[in-house]
């Protein structure tokens, strides 16, 4: 099912925003995790499952309370699980 979008830069989320299919999901990694912070609510136009890699948030000292509620925190095991559930992935640097 669907495409898993790997976002590893601050520009990446904007780049994939209008290129998402209904069964897709997004995971924020590395510098991409900054885009999980406020403003609150769902990033506009992104009606898909949104995830953020917890380890990369912690490394940057971003508290989970600053992460928009639309994002689910996930560890590496969960990341692997997402790549199993989605048949393909694309990286947005």
């Amino acid at each position: 099912m669907g495409v898993l979008h790997l976002v590893n830069s601050t520009e990446g989320l904007g780049r994939c925003r209008d290129r998402l299919g209904p069964d897709d999901a997004v995971i924020l990694l590395e510098a991409g995790v900054y885009t999980a912070m406020a403003p609150s609510g769902k990033p506009e136009g992104m009606d898909v499952d949104l995830f953020v890699l917890q380890e990369h948030l912690s490394q940057r000292g971003i508290a989970r309370t600053r992460v928009r509620p639309a994002f689910t925190l996930i560890d590496f095991e969960g990341f692997v699980g997402l790549t199993v559930r989605h048949t393909r992935s694309v990286t947005w640097a």
Partner: protein
Amino acid sequence: MLGERPEVSIRLMKFAIQINDSPTRSESARTGFQFIKAALASGHEVVRVFFYQEGIYNAFIPGDSAEAAIPDWNALHRDEGIELVYCLSAAERRGQANSCPGFVAGGLGLWVDACLRAERVIVFGG
């Protein structure tokens, strides 16, 4: 009574992994490294790791388990038997020779072969 059984939640997969960034200039190599360790821990198989573009520097910068900043690819090869292939022409283009233990040189053909054998292809960096 037998109801409908839920689908088995753990499906074991074969992964092909491409690493495209240097371990000292970006986090992506380390992300890929941790992803592979997590995949193996979940019982998945990693068909081959292919180091391409700037990723070839992983084959020329020794890993450091103690610092954990630079992935210890050789340990992954030694302990888990994971095949580590760096692109020879990408390395030559960057003037790199004499790779670290655990790595072998190869061409893009080995990457295509890994893609064809794997069920999931994941690219880190680049």
